[in-house]
């Protein structure tokens, strides 16, 4: 059993308990679904500090960070 630490910033902090983690071997998209964090818009995943793809497979020890990148106007 490995572990992928998950963190977030801003308003999403309220929806993700501190110390959250998911199991490795799943994609970023699956992890977000597992966490119930689907916000329906503009979530950007970073893995180990770099921009990641939703289809990237998470490995043991990876650090997944989820950031809300709101698009919009002013």
């Amino acid at each position: 059993m490995g572990r992928v630490e998950v963190t977030t910033v801003g308003l999403l902090r309220a929806r993700l308990p501190k110390g959250s983690a998911v199991e490795p071997g799943q994609t970023v998209a699956q992890a977000v679904q597992t966490l119930g964090l689907g916000i329906g818009e503009g979530l950007v995943p970073l893995v180990n500090g770099r921009l990641a793809s939703w289809s990237d497979l998470l490995k043991d020890g990876d650090k997944l960070e989820l950031v809300q990148s709101v698009g919009g106007g002013a």
């Binding site: 818009e41 809300q68 002013a74």
Partner: protein
């Protein structure tokens, strides 16, 4: 429908004011004009093509300044507290089309007109007073030279009505600063494209409106149902806007390495906490404001009493939103919340576009860093990165065209041509319009949008690629109602991305014709329902998207007439080159991929691949041939 019948939610009245002669006329357009164009940008481009001679001086009396709400203004549908303004831009001479929130558009529409077209030049400063179908040209010499806050108060006092809504220029517009904005309610800017300079060139200080007329709507029930639906979902769907507005963008985009920093040169702004939305909320934010018929209240209000006096903030000028925080903050490496917020306040007081003002100062900072300007060139103005006081000083110089500010007031494109010496390489503009605060290296489609938008670099008639990468994205679900496409990476510029881009850019243009807040969660179907209910004419999903395509096509046609070609649809090389550090390290936009995407988009739009001219077949398919028949030189 019969040509005599007026479309629901319109009066069939476009108001024309000639400030040279004082003539006031009302045009009764063919109802097909509003049925096909809806309002906003499409109407602006159409009227410019029809009425403005090719090659006209943007700051000459011939230019038209067009205030263009859309069909939905005045219907009380939530999200319609916006309106558009347009003209030929004094930056590079392309289309200028910008929108503002607030209360002016709603009030104007209730005053009995669908749009206002101002031409000519008054001999001395004037303002327009429009109330319930009556129009008056009034002297404004006593308002000239004053800041926007006092001017609104004076106009309300003079008209003895505290509910009068005022669109106005500040001293920047008076001095025809090419990055001047038209301000509304003092703190809502139609900022992009130099519309304030056009208004100043006409000696038009303000347009004051008051309207209590009943707008005839074909069927109120579906609009009420949509409002109820919105009321039940907005807190969930717009949680970020309800809680914070756009200000969370600083820390969020900063974490992704996509917060424009040091004139788009650096991947990370380490000092971003100094200008964060949270810090603003914890210290200087004192309230929230909103637009007409909007429950969200995403507009910031700030107030601060600086013991030293320099950074005191008057709440009448509102607070900075994301674009302004980035342009006047990270883009210039300014990490002082008070200096950034003060710069935002001064831009509102003087009527300057915050994006362009921050961009000009950042450009000068980079020129200074590279030794391209010296004290003798600039009257001693040598701003350094991160110097908030220099930013504030630059705003003072620009707004008054004082000293070196006279050259800065020309905008980045002209200033870089003036300075030369390789500075063009970091002049971050497209068609003379400075880049907004969204990073193409994160959002490649956004970059394509900067290049092909008829108004130059603009983020409003564009896509945010990160909204289509999330498999659960509601934006993706919206597109899938007309085009099946799966989630796509934000850096992708392949054929599927461009197909998606085509539909969503048409949608964004539609929103600026309707004129609807882009943050609202309505989809294509709901907007078709709203238009049908408002007008009494049946609109389907495809009709909604066709309105947007007409706006983009008419904008392109206008630019083609003014001499713009595919070669002007470019992206500054800097934002195509990979960062060597940060979360986006190594991500570039390859020139071949960009050119292929642009070519694909031209195909989808029916534009000639070299000249960019829309094909006759496409004009026919969009129903524009008949509409454009009276247009000379089409």
């Amino acid at each position: 429908m019969s040509k005599q019948q007026t479309l629901g939610a319109t009066y069939g009245k476009i108001l024309h004011v000639d400030l040279t002669t004082g003539a006031i006329e009302v045009e009764t357009p063919d109802p097909e004009v509003y049925r096909k164009l809806v309002g906003g940008r499409a109407l602006v481009a159409y009227l410019l093509l029809r009425d403005l001679p090719a090659g006209a001086d943007p700051l000459g009396p011939e230019n038209r300044l067009i205030f263009a709400p859309g069909i939905l203004q005045g219907t009380n549908l939530p999200g319609t507290g916006r309106h558009g303004i347009g003209a030929k831009s004094p930056l590079a001479g392309a289309l200028a089309s910008s929108e503002a929130g607030g209360w002016w558009g709603h009030e104007f529409k209730r005053a009995g007109f669908d749009a206002l077209v101002v031409r000519g030049r008054a001999e001395q400063p004037v303002y327009l007073w429009i109330k319930d179908g009556h129009v008056e040209i009034r002297f404004a010499a006593h308002l000239w030279g004053k800041e926007t806050g006092p001017v609104e108060a004076l106009i309300r006092q003079e008209l003895a009505d505290d509910h009068v809504r005022v669109a106005q220029i500040g001293i920047a517009g008076e001095h025809q600063v090419r990055i001047a904005a038209v301000m509304h309610d003092v703190n809502r800017a139609a900022g992009r494209g130099g519309l304030g300079a056009v208004m100043g060139s006409k000696n038009l200080k303000a347009v004051a409106v008051r309207g209590r007329m009943a707008l005839p709507v074909a069927d109120r029930t579906p609009l009420t149902e949509l409002s109820k639906w919105l009321g039940s979902v907005y807190e969930e769907k717009l949680v970020w806007a309800v809680k914070r507005g756009t200000v969370g963008g600083i820390m969020n985009l900063g974490r992704i390495g996509a917060l424009p920093t040091r004139n788009f040169r650096d991947p990370i702004f380490e000092a971003r906490e100094g200008i964060s939305g949270q810090l603003m909320m914890d210290t200087i934010r004192t309230g929230r404001d909103t637009c007409a018929v909007c429950p969200v209240h995403c507009k910031q209000v700030v107030e601060y009493h600086d013991p030293g006096g320099r950074h005191s903030l008057d709440p009448v000028y509102g607070g900075p939103e994301y674009e302004s925080m980035a342009a006047l903050g990270s883009y210039c490496c300014v990490s002082s919340l008070h200096a950034m917020a003060k710069a935002n306040e001064r831009c509102a007081a003087y009527g300057l576009d915050t994006i362009s003002a921050g961009s000009v100062v950042a450009f000068v900072m980079e020129c200074v860093e590279n030794g391209l300007v010296a004290a003798q060139d600039t009257g001693g103005y040598l701003p350094q990165w991160g110097d908030g006081e220099a930013l504030l000083h630059g705003i003072e110089l620009m707004a008054r065209r004082s000293g070196f500010g006279d050259r800065m007031a020309e905008g980045v494109q002209r200033l870089s041509a003036d300075i030369g010496r390789g500075s063009e390489a970091f002049a971050m503009q497209v068609k003379g319009v400075e880049l907004p605060m969204h990073e193409p290296r994160l959002k490649a489609g956004m970059g394509l949008g900067y290049a092909v938008a008829p108004v130059g670099a603009d983020h409003m008639m564009d896509i945010h690629d990160t909204n289509y990468a999330d498999p659960a994205s509601s934006s993706l679900a919206r597109v899938n109602s007309v085009y099946q496409v799966g989630p796509l990476p934000p850096g992708d510029l392949g054929e599927e991305k461009v197909n998606l881009f085509y539909h969503e850019v048409n949608w964004q243009h539609f929103l600026d014709c309707a004129v609807m807040c882009m943050h609202y969660p309505y989809d294509y179907e709901q907007m078709a329902t709203a238009l049908t209910a408002a007008t009494g004419v049946g609109y389907g999903i495809r009709d909604v998207l066709a309105v947007g395509e007409r706006a983009q096509t008419l904008g392109r046609l206008f630019n083609y007439r003014e001499g713009f070609t595919q070669a002007d649809d470019r992206l500054p090389a800097r934002v195509m080159q990979a960062f060597d550090a940060g979360p986006l390290a190594g991500i570039e936009i390859k020139a071949e991929a960009f050119e292929a995407a642009r070519g694909r988009y031209y195909e989808l739009m029916g534009w000639d691949k070299v000249t960019g001219r829309p094909s006759s077949e496409r004009l026919q398919a969009l129903g524009l041939i008949d509409l454009l028949a009276p247009v000379p030189g089409r």
